[in-house]
Structures are given as structure tokens and as C-alpha cells.
């Protein structure tokens, strides 16, 4: 143990003297964390400006427009600008005053009152701006929501009318279609034409209409989607993300250091001393583990202080970070068992680290990844680590509540060490 610590101390001293190592291991990832956090937080970015044109100029369209404005009032990132007409909205888009426009079409209320509206007849218009994909996408989303609302409203209206008709039929005011010829007191016979007039397209009967109406939703609203990550600010996500990446980058320099010691003969010199055979390699491992852990804590500290990131329970943070460092050390051992030269060590370490980072959600938040990649992230220990950090920050989890991610990360470490041992023994490391 003493020999291992002496060797670790020597390596730490060398790393501190080699400032390039500090830059690569701590400064660069910290800077990356800050930059990415700022980029994804939207801080300092202008809100999306959309034009809203009411071409129908009806009570219905006015109500819909009012609902949209009310909904957008709660969304800081979107500003609605009123336009008197489709033409004015189009002009605003062309001039760059707005990114895109939503147009409530002429004939909207009439189509609804007739309750026979084909979808294309009540199409809510979108005018997209060139080079404004985000604005256009938001406008399309709003338009889709409006169209859905209109359809539901039409369904609800028709259902209300139909319910009334059914009631009337029951009370004898109307005659059912099949009974029309037998109606005596009926004022109106429900013939096929009248039935078709009352039922919206695609609806076969009054019972089905009733069922659709019952499912009609209420007011237009923007729903927040996604899980905990959506509620986590960028700094709180990317701080730990870059910290994990930093640990991987730092700790996987150990194989290179071991091979260099073998090449220069210092490993032989050390092993000629009366120390355990494992002490030199273990000492290198302890050194990079310390640097890796310090790097992780420094980066997370920087994003917490400078960007106000909320990282959660300190004990949980430390425990999870230690597990990450242990995994990184195990990965280093496996790399060391497979390579023969320093360049091989560098190449393999870099390839593995960045592959894990891409799959594990270090550069794109996990929830934003395609579903397949989200599943694949579960196959990476760093993906599990990020889930643990997210739980700490977003859900306020305690250390006991993240034992699963910690356990998975440590489990990966154990497996990698077992895979590395035969190769390391063969090399005499």
C-alpha cells in the first residue's frame, strides 16, 4: 500500500507540473460545460415572433385568437403579433418582422355552424418564413392545435344538436328515419338527408356522435411534454455530463502512462525494488483516479457557482462521482490489457470515450435522443450515471434513491476489471 501511494504521489506531481494535462482534463471540459449550458439554456436569445391573422373576423375566430393569445402570454419564448389579414401576415413574414404566421381562415365559423366541414375547408393556414424553421414549426404546432380544437368543437356542436334531436324524437317531436312514414304528431321526419346533415363526416350514427362528443377536449392549451429532463435546466444537465466526460478523458490516460513507463524502463526500475508487483500499476491508477475525481468536482462546482446549476444532494453527487471514477479506472485497465503502444492506447481511449459520450447523452439530452438511442444509452454506464445525476438534480433524490445507477456503474466496473485481468497478467503489469 505504501509503495502504491508513493508511486501515485510521484505521478500526481508530474501531472501537476505538466500543465497541458490540467488544461485537457479540467479546464477544457469546464469550459465546454459552460459553453454548452449557455447554448442550450437559451439565455440571451430573442423570443420567437409569430403573426396571428384573423381572416374570418367572426365571433368564433375572435374567441380562438383570444385563447391563443392567452396561452402565449404564459410562454416567454413566443410573442404573438396581430395581423389584420392574411396579406398583412404574409408581409410581416417576408419583411422578417416575424418568423412565421398563423392564419385563421375565412369561413371558419360558417363551416362550423354548418357542421359539415371537411378538414380541408377549415384548414388553419401557416405562412412559414425562409430560414426560420423553429418559428415555422411552432406556427404549425399552433395551427394543428387550432384545427384539432375546431374539429372537436364541430363534433361537440353536432353532438349537442343530435342529442337534442334524439330527445325530440323520444318526445315525439321528430320521427326516427325508419318511422317517418308512421309519424302522426311528428313535425319533422328524420329522413336520410336530414340525418346526413346532422352527422359530421365519418360518423355513422347518433350513438357514435355522442361518444365522440364525450371525448371532446376543452380549451386550447400548450402542454409541457417530456420527463424530468425537460424540467432540468441546461447547466444542471450538462455540468454533470461534462464532468463524467472529463473523468473518462483523464482516467483513460493511465494506459498510456503505463506503457510509457514500460518503454522507458522506469516500470522495470520500480519492480526491481522490494515492492508488490501490482504496486506500480495500482499507483498510476490511484493518481489518475484522484485527478479524475477532482476534475469532476471542479467542473460541477464551476457550473453550480457560475451558472446557478442545481446539482442535488452532495453526498449522492460524491457517491455517484466515485462510482464513475471507478468505472473509468476499470475501463483504463481493460484498455491497458489490450494495447501495446502509446498511440494505440490514445486511439482506443479516445474512440471508446467519445462513443460512450455520444450514446450516453453527453452532448444531447437523453430525452431528446431518438427512442432507440435512449434505450441504447441504458447499455452504457455513463448513461446510467447521467440518469442518476438527473434524479439528484431534478427530482431531489437522495443517495439511497440513486443506488440503482450507482450499482449499475459499479457493476460495469467489476466486469471490465475481470475482463482486463488476464491481459494484464500476461503483460506482467
Amino acid at each position: 500500500m505504501r509503495a502504491m501511494l508513493i508511486i501515485a504521489g510521484r505521478d500526481l506531481r508530474s501531472r501537476l507540473r505538466d500543465r497541458s494535462g490540467l488544461v485537457a482534463g479540467i479546464v477544457a471540459p469546464a469550459a465546454l460545460a459552460v459553453i454548452i449550458s449557455l447554448a442550450f439554456s437559451g439565455a440571451g436569445t430573442d423570443p420567437v415572433r409569430l403573426a396571428l391573422a384573423d381572416a374570418d373576423d367572426s365571433d368564433l375566430s375572435a374567441d380562438i385568437a383570444a385563447e391563443l393569445r392567452e396561452a402565449m402570454d404564459d410562454v416567454d419564448e413566443v410573442v404573438l403579433v396581430d395581423a389584420a389579414s392574411r396579406a398583412e401576415a404574409s408581409a410581416l413574414v417576408d419583411d422578417g418582422e416575424v418568423g412565421a404566421a398563423v392564419v385563421l381562415p375565412e369561413g371558419l365559423q360558417e363551416a362550423l355552424e354548418e357542421a359539415t366541414g371537411e378538414p380541408e375547408e377549415v384548414a388553419v393556414g401557416v405562412i412559414g418564413g425562409t430560414g426560420a424553421p423553429l418559428s415555422t414549426a411552432i406556427a404549425e404546432g399552433l395551427a394543428g392545435a387550432v384545427a384539432a380544437q375546431v374539429e372537436q368543437t364541430a363534433t361537440a356542436v353536432a353532438a349537442t344538436v343530435a342529442t337534442g334531436v334524439q330527445q325530440a324524437v323520444a318526445e315525439g317531436a321528430f320521427a326516427a328515419p325508419d318511422d317517418a312514414d308512421d309519424a302522426d304528431d311528428a313535425d319533422v321526419a328524420l329522413d336520410d338527408d336530414l340525418t346526413a346533415l346532422l352527422l359530421p363526416p365519418g360518423v355513422e350514427g347518433f350513438e357514435e356522435l355522442g361518444e365522440e362528443a364525450a371525448q371532446a377536449e376543452a380549451a386550447l392549451a400548450l402542454e409541457e411534454a417530456g420527463g424530468a429532463e425537460d424540467r432540468l435546466d441546461a447547466a444542471s444537465y450538462f455540468g454533470p455530463s461534462m464532468a463524467v466526460l472529463s473523468a473518462l478523458l483523464v482516467v483513460t490516460t493511465a494506459p498510456r502512462a503505463l506503457i510509457r513507463e514500460r518503454r522507458t524502463g522506469t516500470l522495470q526500475r520500480l519492480r526491481a525494488a522490494p515492492i508488490p508487483a501490482w504496486a506500480p500499476a495500482a499507483g498510476l491508477g490511484v493518481s489518475v483516479a484522484v485527478v479524475g475525481l477532482v476534475a469532476m468536482l471542479v467542473i460541477q462546482g464551476i457550473v453550480a457557482v457560475a451558472l446557478g446549476a442545481s446539482l442535488g444532494d452532495p453526498l449522492g453527487l460524491l457517491a455517484l462521482s466515485l462510482a464513475v471514477v471507478a468505472f473509468a479506472g476499470a475501463l483504463s485497465a481493460l484498455i491497458a490489457s489490450l494495447v501495446r503502444t502509446e498511440s494505440q492506447a490514445d486511439g482506443l481511449a479516445t474512440a471508446v470515450t467519445f462513443s460512450l459520450a455520444l450514446v450516453g447523452g453527453h452532448f444531447i439530452e437523453l430525452h431528446a435522443l431518438p427512442e432507440g438511442l435512449q434505450t441504447l444509452a441504458l447499455a452504457t454506464p455513463n448513461g446510467w450515471a447521467l440518469r442518476g445525476y438527473t434524479a439528484l438534480a431534478a427530482d431531489g433524490a437522495s443517495v439511497t434513491e440513486i443506488l440503482a445507477p450507482i450499482g449499475v456503474v459499479l457493476g460495469f466496473a467489476v466486469v471490465l476489471v475481470l475482463l482486463a485481468l488476464p491481459g494484464l497478467r500476461r503483460q506482467g503489469a
Binding site: A3, I6, I7, R10, R13, S14, R17, D18, T264, G265, T266, Q268, R269, L270, R271, A272, A273, P274, I275, P276, A277, G428
Partner: protein, 329 residues
Amino acid sequence: MPAMTSTEADTGTPSAGPMPLVRCEGLRKAFGSLVAVDDVSLAIAPGEAYGLLGPNGAGKTTAISMLCGLLAPDAGTVHVADEPIGVGRATGKQHLGLVPQELALYGDLSARENLVLLGRLQGLRGATLRRRVDEVLEIVGLADRAGDRLETFSGGMQRRPSIAAGLLHRPRLLVLDEPTVGVDPQSRNAILEQVAALSAEGTALLYTSHYMEEVERVCDRVGIMDGGRLIAEGTRRELVTRIDAADRVEVEARGDLDALASRLRALDAVAQVDHSDGGLLVLASEGRAVLPELIAAAQALDVALSGVEVAEPDLEAVFLSLTGRALRD
């Protein structure tokens, strides 16, 4: 230890005398189909300087790696001071000091920092360690550059802290693996002087080299390795005698050379006398032993001697005789 002379008496191998400090028995190591060391056995007495001579690729470094517990042998054992030496064993290694062929020190650390690090690994601490570091820096002549980083040292200068590192813990056996490779002649000479001084102080040495003259200068006994095998072993005199080569005594003289030649041929130690350009060429089993009688005979015959040179057969000749190849082919 004085330079070897051909008049040195052969008293038999050290293994027949006091308990050897180092015993290697039946060492063998193969790397795939290449047998690097094949059944090598040797013994080194306390205080003895043992040279392991052989061309590049003979197996010297592999042999001493096993001796130092850095490489596990496929067969055979190593004991130093009666303690078994092996890979993964810490015991016994305190008796060994290694000066490897590479510099094998940390260039970003100073000479003192390197020695303190290695001294701590040898179990030295505190004031004892500091004092010993100062001592060995003095021994190798680096006291005034102790604080300089090794990467600022010249190639020859870098050998000195390497030797110092091997001496830190006062080992009973200092193992030097080709310590003068790549070193300028002046530094080489300094290294050899230091090594000879250590031997004179009683430190046992195992010195490997492919330079015959270094081994002859430093070592009491020599083992010759070739193709992984120890093909000959003994003092220089024993090895030379083995190949039955004679010393050459070149005599430059004027006068009655025929008479002088006749007188010399009558001596038991003289095998052959030939006339040469300006003198005589005498082949003798011990050239230096013939000198007094040569001088007396020249004086009696009134022959004027202007020059006498004795050239003894060397290990190069021994190697050539045993293997059919030169030592540095």
C-alpha cells in the same frame, strides 16, 4: 580490485569456496519458439565482480531480468543471500541494486527527487534517506547538479544518477546491464572507474556487456553467453588457457638476435621464437614471466633492446575460438 593479470593464480570457482551470494540454477526462458535463455547456471561470491559477456541477442538481459525478479523463468531458480527471487515477490530484492540499460528514471524530476522516490521504495525514510541520497550523489559526482531535472543532463551524465539509484540501499549485489552503451568515451571511462571502485569496496557486481575490454577491466570472473547458453565460465586466465593461446612478446633489438633467440627457446615458458622485422617475436604461455630472463639474456649477449611489448590473448579470441564468430559481429 586491480586489473587482471596473466600471472593471477587460479584458485578455482567461487562456488567451491564460501557460500555464494547469488545462485542461479537451470534458468530457462522462451518467447514463443525463440529460446532466449537455455539452462543457465551461475554463482557469484560475496564481493566478487562477475562479468557476463556476449554479443547482442545472446540472452544477457533476459538472464539478469530473471535474476532480478523482473521476468518469470520457464524453469530454474534464483537465490540471492539464500532468499528466493521471483516475480511478485518483494523478499530478497533488498539485496539487489539494478542499473538497467535504459536510463529508467523520470526526466521531469531532478536527480535528488528521483533518488528520494526510489529510496522510499527501498524502505529508506527521513534523515537516513536524505543523508544517503547526499552520499550517493557525492559518489557519482552529481552533488552540484542534484536539483537539476534529468532531462537537462547529457547522455553520459544521465548514467550517473542511474548508478546512484542502484546504490541507494547499499545492495550486496549491484547489477549493471550494459551501463556504457551510447555513452561518450570520457563518461564511459568515468563509469568504469566508479564501478571498479565499488568492487574494491566489497560490493559484488554482475556486469553485462558486449565490450570485452570493459569486462576484462572490471571483472574477476567472466561468463560467456551465446545463443542463450553459458558456453564458458572462469577467470580470464582460465578462459584464455582453455583455448590454449599464447602471449605474444614483440622484441625490438639490435645485435646477435640468433643467439638471443636460442637462449629464449631454451626457456620452458617459451613455445616459439621467430625473427621479425627489427627484432624477435616470442610466443610464450606467460609472456610477462619471460621478461626478466629476456632482459638478462640480452644483457649477457650485449643485445640492445629498444622495445618490448607483451600482447596477451583476450576474451575476443576466446569467443572467436568457442563460437567461430567475433564478439561484435
